[in-house]
Symmetry: none
Subunit: 127 residues, 4 copies
Amino acid sequence: MISFDTFHPVDGVPIYQQILLFIKRGAVAGTIRDGDELPSRRMLSALLGINPNTVQKAFHLLEDENLITSQMGAGSNMTLSEDKIRELREELLADDIRSITASLKQMGIDKAEALRLIERNWEDTEA
Amino acid sequence: MISFDTFHPVDGVPIYQQILLFIKRGAVAGTIRDGDELPSRRMLSALLGINPNTVQKAFHLLEDENLITSQMGAGSNMTLSEDKIRELREELLADDIRSITASLKQMGIDKAEALRLIERNWEDTEA
Amino acid sequence: MISFDTFHPVDGVPIYQQILLFIKRGAVAGTIRDGDELPSRRMLSALLGINPNTVQKAFHLLEDENLITSQMGAGSNMTLSEDKIRELREELLADDIRSITASLKQMGIDKAEALRLIERNWEDTEA
Amino acid sequence: MISFDTFHPVDGVPIYQQILLFIKRGAVAGTIRDGDELPSRRMLSALLGINPNTVQKAFHLLEDENLITSQMGAGSNMTLSEDKIRELREELLADDIRSITASLKQMGIDKAEALRLIERNWEDTEA
DNA sequence: GTGGTCTAGACCACG
DNA sequence: GTGGTCTAGACCACC
């Protein structure tokens, strides 16, 4: 059963998208594996204190991307392959790196300083 | 007159917030300085192909943060001090670093790999 | 459910302010009471033939004055106390009386004639 | 020369409309008479501390209603007849009385109380 | 269905 | 020409 203990939504970005990202990142990290069972929509919505419809929307999008399969009455399970994970990794990493790099460059930060900032603050941040 | 040539809004995040960030990051970078004149609401909205009200919302928020002052009939100008710039720098950098670090950690990336990723992709990204 | 049957907006004054006044005057009159449910933003805007956002603005201001409370997904309800009603009564009456008195005086109407005018036209006017 | 000493604009209603009302009410009161000269647009805008364009707009509307005539280079003068004044009186009074009566009725004030309120507060209000 | 937000266009007072 | 306000319509998260 996939754990959502480390899921802490922030505001300003749709919750259902954050659920998607949480699942995808877990898949890339290897903490979420092929065949893993997800909590039921009802249970997850109760666990996270959010609306069942919001969870439903996230699950629906995960199905659209063929990352989970849901059987009537039998919950949902991850369907991951090496290829999918590689794809996810590239897609997510590219977005993140592009975003942070562009942002820092706009503030006039050069590469050396960027690396020093990441280096110095790495331990202080929770996953 | 502050130039918006390098402003390229993405979707998924409110345009007025992107305008805010663009100004703040320019102030941190030093390309936007105290006293600099901002384009009029009309001119900027025409330039960006968006509604004057969207620009107005961004400018209004900048005024609330005492980063610009607007006079009726005349335009708007930056009001920056060394202290404000330092505050902005810390605030923006902290957000960016926290965000990228948390994201990479969730994907199981360790510090060494994170630094290597930034290092390798730095030149490929536009500001 | 608060009825807006007797609400007839005039032009020249912002509609959202007229909605505010309608609610406040109803509270003073006692026709709108603590706990009363307001129509939804959609329903009221359809009823009045105006934009939902205009209603939203009025409701938001009422919330700022602690005259209504709104819950996501549920509706909005009045939150009135004896003190608030007394405050409203004094505030609204003072404005109205000051306004009409100043206006009549500017037209050279004296007190006796003013009273006679009110007296004579009282029955002819709808609330 | 018509005096604007007692003109005190309030906000929330367009200033050019308040100028119109000031002139009309003076005509009804008899303090502004046929042939009276108005200050020049320039002088009046300086006197009231408002924009010449705003004064211009008021004068233009007064011309449209045939209440003033302007000669090139020779200022503007009132053009009032007994009939016009009677019309103005009826129009303005009807509006005021209808407005105050409707407002008080909406607050559940009855005729006796309305008269008492006007009576009691008459002296306290400036024209 | 509900409330909340974002973007849009027209109008006003002003320099 | 400028900034400020009012009304409008579409979209989102939620019950």
